[in-house]
């Protein structure tokens, strides 16, 4: 195995392209090292991107925030600006692993690991976050929601990697929330999860919403019908009930060691309902 620490994204992309399927990007390493130890992957080249300038920075951009691929979870959680603008993304990030994992894990690693149960991916997708992709033939910006293609699969070309994510600006009276279900309070993988991002009109009516479910399908599910069920409402019980049902209809989970189809479907709806209420309360406070 080779260990390289490129100084620029271009250099990193070159290593990645040269290494092909046997090269891996190392940011926080909290997934990669586990996979290496279990023998799931045996990379010939590991590309540590954390020494590339800017990779460990959170910068303000057009009223939103750009988060570098090397920013550890704890750094994001500590960022007052991001926390205020996208509290749901931050709480999703905070749920990944332990304090120690927070010292290393990154939201982009969480995205690129390709797990349908990743905590930050539904939250970023609900936030309309945009991934900045660097590759051998240049750069492109892709909505986070469009990247996951299935367990371990992303819509990235060979040699491409995600260098940063933009959490966009948003108006006042808008907020998000993320909830997941795990058997333990911490140190666990989502059995089902839901992120809700919404905007309120001045009278408190939901003017826009995005509802995204995790761990209930081979990839995140952008539950458009669920969002439509609450747009134009004040999140009254009927609207929430309709949203809950729409979430359950959208879910296509599997039975595995972590949960059953029945349980995941049921709980995804419950989580979306609860997350919507939290997001609404938060939005009400952002005036």
């Amino acid at each position: 195995m080779h260990f390289v620490s490129p100084q620029s994204t271009e250099e990193a992309a070159r290593h990645l392209a040269e290494g092909g399927a046997k090269a891996r990007i190392l940011a926080g390493g909290t997934d990669l090292l586990v996979q290496m130890k279990s023998g799931m992957v045996s990379p010939e080249t590991v590309i540590d991107i954390k020494r590339i300038p800017g990779m460990r920075d959170i910068t303000e951009e057009d009223g939103g925030y750009r988060v570098g691929a090397g920013v550890p979870g704890q750094q994001l959680n500590e960022h007052a600006g991001v926390k205020s603008l996208w509290p749901g993304v931050v709480e999703a990030c905070d749920l990944i692993g332990s304090t120690q994992i927070q010292g290393r894990c990154t939201i982009i690693g969480n995205l690129c690991n390709g797990s349908p149960a990743a905590d930050t991916v539904p939250a970023m997708a609900a936030a309309n976050a945009v991934a900045h992709v660097v590759g051998p033939s240049g750069t492109r910006d892709v909505p986070v929601a469009d990247l996951p293609q299935g367990p371990g699969k992303l819509a990235l070309e060979e040699g491409e990697f995600v260098a940063s994510v933009l959490l966009p600006a948003r108006p006042k009276r808008a907020a998000d929330a993320y909830l997941r279900f795990t058997p333990r309070t911490e140190m666990d993988i989502a059995v089902a999860s839901a992120a809700v991002s919404l905007e309120l009109a001045e009278d408190g009516t939901v003017s826009d919403a995005r509802v995204v479910l995790g761990a209930v399908g081979p990839k995140i599910i952008v539950a458009t019908a669920a969002a439509e069920a609450i747009i134009g409402t004040k999140l009254d019980d009927d609207a929430l009930e309709a949203m809950t049902k729409a979430c359950r209809d959208a879910a296509t989970p599997i039975d595995d060691k972590r949960g059953t189809v029945e349980f995941r479907t049921q709980v995804a709806g419950v989580l979306a309902k609860r997350a919507a209420r939290i997001a609404k309360d938060r939005a009400g406070e952002r005036t």
């Binding site: 279900f181 333990r184 309070t185 911490e186 059953t260 029945e262 349980f263 709980v267």
Partner: protein, 747 residues
């Protein structure tokens, strides 16, 4: 054995909260655990494990792996001695498979190489020719007459009936006329239960360092609950003489019963013998889950009859346990424990053990009892709900006490169950208000406790301090407790005593640190060794004073004349006597060797409050109180620690912990991510309430305390969930999908 009771005495050291002698080493990272020792020329070992749940091993080709540069030795079962002892043979076959791989993760071969990378690479080059065989992992399936047979010819003479050859033993306990008892009941409830296999979950993986030379001498350093037993097993498996194998126990990073046997130690010795170099072998966490002892999983039926005023008229339990691919008799312990808390006119328990394609069961804190008591306490609770009675009242009404004919045969001596139940009833926890979706559960628990083979040497140093050599790894503060008992008996400060754990060449045989035996049995031997030393000191003083040895007594750390008739002498302190030891006949030491009995059974009662989320089935433990008869608590902090630790393990067992197998017999959750032991944020503060009812079998009234606390939590949690959610589960763990399903189907 001196049975002098000190219950009324004023203790000076016993009952205080002194600092543990291993504290600084453990908070600074200096303590040396199994994987921490390094010696020159050391090789690294690694083990190849079966990818099949059950397969015949046709051939193992190691030639390619041996040819890899840096590989120094490869061993298989053929490198072990030819054995005829069935017990040893099972341990050996579990360490390295002989004719068949019996479970997913069963060790098949092992490598020693210059470093870990090379050893790992070599494993991939070993070619094993397997013929996969049909497998079985569920206990009820394994008992069916047409089940795949894991090992044939292991059935004991006591097994009757149309079962498969997997059923290795049967047992039955009890007394009285069940039919007549059930006829007297106002209501009878019969339920079936299942509990999953759970792992001890010690944080330190098994690790050892073996060094064997060509003249047959060997040293072994390992994390174990019993270095002497490791010596017995390894010497047998390697065909060595015990005297040639010195085993040193490292600091141990948790055991809970799981480190009472061998998994890698004979393998490391065989590798070292073959390579002519020291070999270190350390398990990964994955290997720990796949190939070391979880406890049994169980299936059971319980039937209990009760009168409307809460008197149990008859009780029956059928217990079916599987302990993996090798015979075990854990079910006998369960069958004896099931109804131990009750005074019953008619009671019967039956137990069966079945072989399955799972790892060989190892002891886990009160082995066999938690799953049996869970089933019994669930049905007792359901009956109290049926009649609308108070759960503690019902238990008090039926509680076993001194003179009760126990459900397993003997008549109880003094036991503390009634006092424990009364303490629970009076505790503020029991009357605290509960909110919506909250419920309170109660359960009793029981464990036997043991004594066993014990040697202690107590040396009086010439400066008047004391060194104690004992042979049981310190797993929960026993070095401190042993020093305390010696200080108490000798009448000197605790700080002047140091206790060390000996290697197998430095002291006679000591049983494994198990059965909650150490503070009881080693403590007893320490007190007797101190008395032996006192006797010798008194006789030295008698010579100095030129009086009869019987005229010298020991009081507050001093030798004194027994009375005015003995003469008028200034008392001599231990330090003064020690300083003159050379002049008065040489070094002074006390010894005691015993196979201790009289450990005294122990009871606990736990109260658990939970809240169940009706929309997700999630259970949160809100409040937890554990009451236990501990006998005299030598070091109350460590007694509390045992009660809290056992409770936490029981809570994990009740809610989330389980071995999950797929249809191919593969273990799906061999890691701490998906084998969910409780984390700090999962638990409330666990309040321990110690009751000190002296054990008549120990000079200070000490009772074993380590194991009982894991027994009550299973039913306490299940009973609490039943009251919080209005649904009763009959299966552990009570994972959220199961609870939600029960809530949903209730409507």
């Amino acid at each position: 054995m001196n049975k002098m009771s000190r219950e009324k005495q004023d203790f000076k050291v016993i009952g205080t909260r002194v600092k543990r002698p291993d504290g600084i080493d453990k908070v600074t990272g200096r303590a040396q655990y199994g994987a921490d020792l390094v010696v020159p020329g050391m090789l690294t070992g690694a083990v190849l494990r079966s990818p099949h749940a059950h397969a015949k091993i046709n051939a193992i080709d190691t030639s390619e792996a041996m040819a890899l540069p840096g590989v120094k030795a490869i061993v298989t079962n053929a490198d072990f001695a030819a054995l005829d002892d069935e017990f040893l043979l099972d341990v050996a076959d579990n360490c390295l498979a002989r004719e068949k791989a019996l479970y997913h993760g069963h060790a098949v071969a092992a490598v020693a190489a210059k470093d870990a990378q090379t050893a790992k690479a070599a494993l991939k080059l070993i070619k094993v020719d397997y013929t996969p065989l049909p497998h079985v992992t569920d206990v009820d399936d394994a008992m069916e007459s047409d089940a795949p047979v894991v090992q044939a010819g292991r059935k004991q003479e006591n097994v009757k009936g149309d079962y498969s050859d997997n059923v290795t033993m049967y047992c039955e306990f009890g007394h009285g006329d069940l039919d007549a008892g059930f006829a007297k009941a106002d209501h009878v409830i019969e339920r079936s239960f299942k509990t999953a296999a759970t792992h001890q979950g010690y944080i330190e993986p098994h690790a050892c360092l073996a060094s064997m030379t060509s003249d047959g001498k060997a040293d072994l350093w390992c994390c174990t609950q019993g270095q002497y037993f490791v010596r017995t097993l390894c010497a047998g498996i390697l065909g060595m003489e015990a005297s040639q194998l010195r085993v040193t126990a490292s600091e141990i990073g948790g055991g809970f019963g799981g480190k009472t046997t061998c998994f890698i130690e004979p393998v490391a010795l065989a590798l070292s013998r073959k390579a002519g170099r020291p070999v270190k072998l350390v398990m990964t966490r994955d290997e720990v889950f796949r190939a070391t002892g979880p406890t049994v999983s169980s299936s059971s039926d319980v039937k209990i009859g009760m009168t409307k005023d809460g008197r149990i008229t008859a009780a029956y339990a059928a217990l079916r346990y599987q302990g993996g691919a090798f015979p075990c008799e854990t079910v006998a312990m369960g069958a004896q424990s099931a109804f131990a808390a009750y005074d019953l006119d008619a009671v019967k328990t039956e137990g069966w053990n079945a072989l399955t394609n799972r790892p060989k069961e190892a002891a886990y804190r009160a082995p066999g009892a938690p799953m049996a008591v869970y089933a019994v306490e669930s049905v007792v609770d359901e009956l109290t709900q049926h009649f609308g009675l108070d759960p503690l009242d019902v238990r008090l009404k039926n509680a076993a006490d001194a003179g009760t004919l126990s459900s397993y045969g003997p008549t109880f001596e003094a036991i503390g169950l009634v006092a424990t139940l009364e303490a629970a009833q009076k505790h503020p926890h029991y009357s605290a208000p509960l909110g919506e979706n909250q419920g309170r559960g109660v359960s009793c628990g029981f464990w036997f406790n043991f004594g066993g083979n014990t040697c202690v040497s107590l040396n009086i140093n010439d400066d008047g301090t004391v060194g104690i050599t004992e042979g049981n790894p310190d797993i929960g503060g026993s070095r401190a407790s042993i020093s305390m008992m010696a200080a108490e008996e000798l009448g000197i400060p605790y700080e002047q005593v140091r206790t060390i754990v000996a290697d197998t060449s430095s002291l006679g045989y000591n049983d494994v640190t198990d059965g909650s035996r150490v503070t009881f049995a080693v403590g007893l031997a320490t007190i007797e060794a101190a008395r032996d030393a006192i006797k010798k000191m008194c006789s030295r003083v008698a010579k100095i004073w030129e009086i009869d040895p019987d005229a010298v007594i020991w009081e507050n750390g001093q030798a004194k004349p027994s009375g005015p008739n003995a003469g008028d002498f200034e008392p001599m302190s231990l330090a003064e006597i020690a300083a003159l030891s050379s002049e008065t006949g040489g070094p002074i030491a006390g010894h005691y060797e015993v196979n201790a009995d009289g450990a005294g059974v122990s009871f606990g009662v736990h109260l658990a409050d939970v809240e169940v989320d009706p929309e997700t089935g999630a259970t949160k433990v809100l409040r937890y109180t554990a009451f236990q008869d501990a006998g005299k608590a030598v070091h109350p902090d460590y007694v509390e620690g045992q009660m809290q630790g056992g409770s936490a393990q029981g809570i994990g067992w009740a809610l989330n912990e389980e071995y999950i197998y797929d249809d191919d017999g593969m273990l799906l959750n061999a890691g701490f991510l998906d084998y969910r032991v409780p984390v700090a944020s999962d638990l409330p503060s666990i309040e321990p309430v110690i009751l000190e009812i002296p054990n008549p079998g120990h000079p200070y009234g000490v009772r074993g305390v380590g194991e009982t606390s894991i027994v009550p939590p299973l039913a306490a949690l299940s009973n609490a969930v039943s009251r919080a959610a209005g649904v009763r589960l009959h299966e552990l763990p009570m994972s959220p999908p199961k609870i939600l399903k029960a809530i949903t189907s209730k409507g």
